[in-house]
Symmetry: C2
Subunit: 332 residues, 2 copies
């Protein structure tokens, strides 16, 4: 079997540091589990925009589209939209999977263990905006086909967990648009034998703080998912721990939920956990389930042992933390 | 001076109980501060829909539009949209003011003291939705005039507080629509000498949990305000404490942020605090600043003394709690 092809985009700010730490872990995982990845690097983001005049250089896009099986992407700065929204669309990665869970040794607001399944290509993110003098408009787009396929993804995740999905929408006000999403999603989930409930997005934001343990799989629309996933990550303890997978029928893109954090870039203190866990999601997607699981466990063991970067109250540098994780991985 | 005319809509679920408790406090405030309100009652909500075939009966709408100076509205059940979104539009109450603050004796997630100034008539709430086979659409509407007037409201609130406004938007993705909101709002605020910063809505949801004390006045669009205000209320301790004012150039509507809570309706245990504080916002709007302030202080004193309804761990009934508040008001 040919080695899967992974395009690595280090990105901006702390991106290169946390990607370096992550690649170190990936190398260890390959050694230990005896598999191979063909890796290429490409640029995108604010720095790329300055150097090549475009945040997502043509060559990067071509590699992502025509060469890579999976893209592993660091955070991107102010040009994030031109990189990530475009990549998501061009790669057709319609499902944005964002787990949020309490980790050992990390203080959560409340115990939480959920997965947000965020529709990734429609909603106001579809890019339909226009203006007239004195007014501007954006069109929220919901398709039956788009809703059906994201609901099937939610069903798949629910089956491997507790079998419960909460559909989050605002169909009491947006009866047509959110109403379509709610109705189609509910039908698909019920057909698949999943137990379904619903919640308005405002109530869901509140519940995410009041009683996050009531959620298992949260199925929602693009922008609600954007907002709720940052919130859930913070409830779990820190945005610095939140990984994500953008998955389509042929391609996939893995990235931390957090941003470029320019203020601490280059200091060697950035927390690479979200990036490492994103890479673990990639390993799982590529079929290396055991390696994926072991990387996750090693991260948990390191954190449980109080081995952490300064943002979590630890005193390790980015690479020292990665080395600690690698030791647990090897001991695993 | 003729007494201001207040239309009271008890609403659904716990509505009648918490309105009764609130009217009890209002009567006390009138006695103590020597002013008068002309009060009429009207129906709206699920019950009204069942009785009259429409959730917002014509007579109620007419009274609100042509008779009342202010409307004091309890929560409404599943028909909430047909009552509150319609009333907001018909009354032209373009500014939804939602304070969230930690109260003595109430456990907050983090100390918080902010006001969300939510644009109340535009955005995807403007009611422009349509569909074709297989797809549905909603139009997010942002006007320069609408943004300018809500920004002026935010400036007014900021001037009476710390002078800081955070504009919350998603202009990195919604460059045209949210971009217009951001640009116009920033211009107005800067002209008024207000210190302005900005935050993306996903980051704002996270910050609302991580460090809510960094916010003072939050100026945002209709749906972001909907989501963030429920969240902020929960961070402050409970949705049961969150009041709101919907203010226009001629009319105003006051209502708790919470819903009808059918599950505890009729048991006499509902927490009337959000409703009482909404009435206090109404007194302030009507010019009875001292009475308004005293009602707020009395609520704080009752809570600080551990006098509370069961939702906050207390053992008082709705009316016993109102009596406790009234005693502090009288002792004032
Ligand atoms: C950077 C931005 C375009 C992006 C989004 O809104 O999707 C980010 O916030 C995210 O959640 O991945
Ligand atoms: C009931 C609903 C229409 C309303 C809204 O979304 O505005 C409510 O959630 C609120 O925030 O007042």
């Amino acid at each position: 079997m040919a080695a899967p092809r992974v395009l690595v985009i280090p990105g901006d700010g702390i991106g290169p540091e946390i990607v370096e730490a992550t690649m170190f872990i990936l190398e260890k995982a390959m050694d230990l589990y005896g598999f191979d990845l063909e890796i290429r690097y490409a640029e995108a983001g604010d720095i790329a925009a300055r150097e090549y005049g475009e945040p997502l250089p043509h060559e990067t896009l071509e590699l992502a589209r025509n060469w890579a099986d999976a893209v592993l992407k660091g955070p991107v700065g102010e040009t994030a939209r031109d990189v990530v929204v475009v990549l998501r669309r061009e790669l057709g990665v319609y499902a944005n999977i964002r787990p949020a869970r309490s980790l050992p040794g990390v203080e959560s607001v409340k115990p939480i263990d959920l997965v947000i399944v965020r529709e990734n290509l429609e909603d106001v993110y579809a890019g339909i905006e226009f203006s007239v003098p004195g007014a501007a408009f954006a069109v929220k787009v919901v398709t039956e086909a788009g809703t059906r396929r994201i609901a099937r993804v939610a069903a798949r995740y629910a089956s491997s967990r507790t079998g419960r999905v909460t559909i989050v929408h605002k169909a009491n006000v947006l009866r047509v648009a959110d109403g379509l999403f709610r109705d189609v999603a509910r039908r698909v989930l019920e057909e698949e034998g999943i137990s379904v409930d619903e919640m308005y997005v405002d109530a869901a934001a509140m519940e995410m703080v009041r009683n996050p343990a009531r959620f298992d799989v949260v199925l929602t629309m693009n922008q609600y998912g954007d907002i709720l996933s940052d919130l859930a990550a913070q409830v779990a303890g820190s945005l610095g721990l939140a990984p994500s997978a953008n998955i389509g029928d042929e391609k996939a893109l893995f990235e931390p939920v957090h941003g470029a954090a320019w203020d601490i870039a280059g200091k060697g203190v950035a927390n690479p956990t979200a990036m490492i866990l994103s890479a673990a999601m990639m390993l799982d997607y590529l079929g290396y389930h055991e390696a994926a699981h072991s990387v996750e466990t090693a991260v948990e063991q390191a954190l449980a042992a109080g081995l952490a970067t300064p943002d979590l109250g630890g005193n390790l540098s980015t690479m020292e933390y990665a080395q600690a994780v690698a030791r647990f991985l090897a001991a695993g």
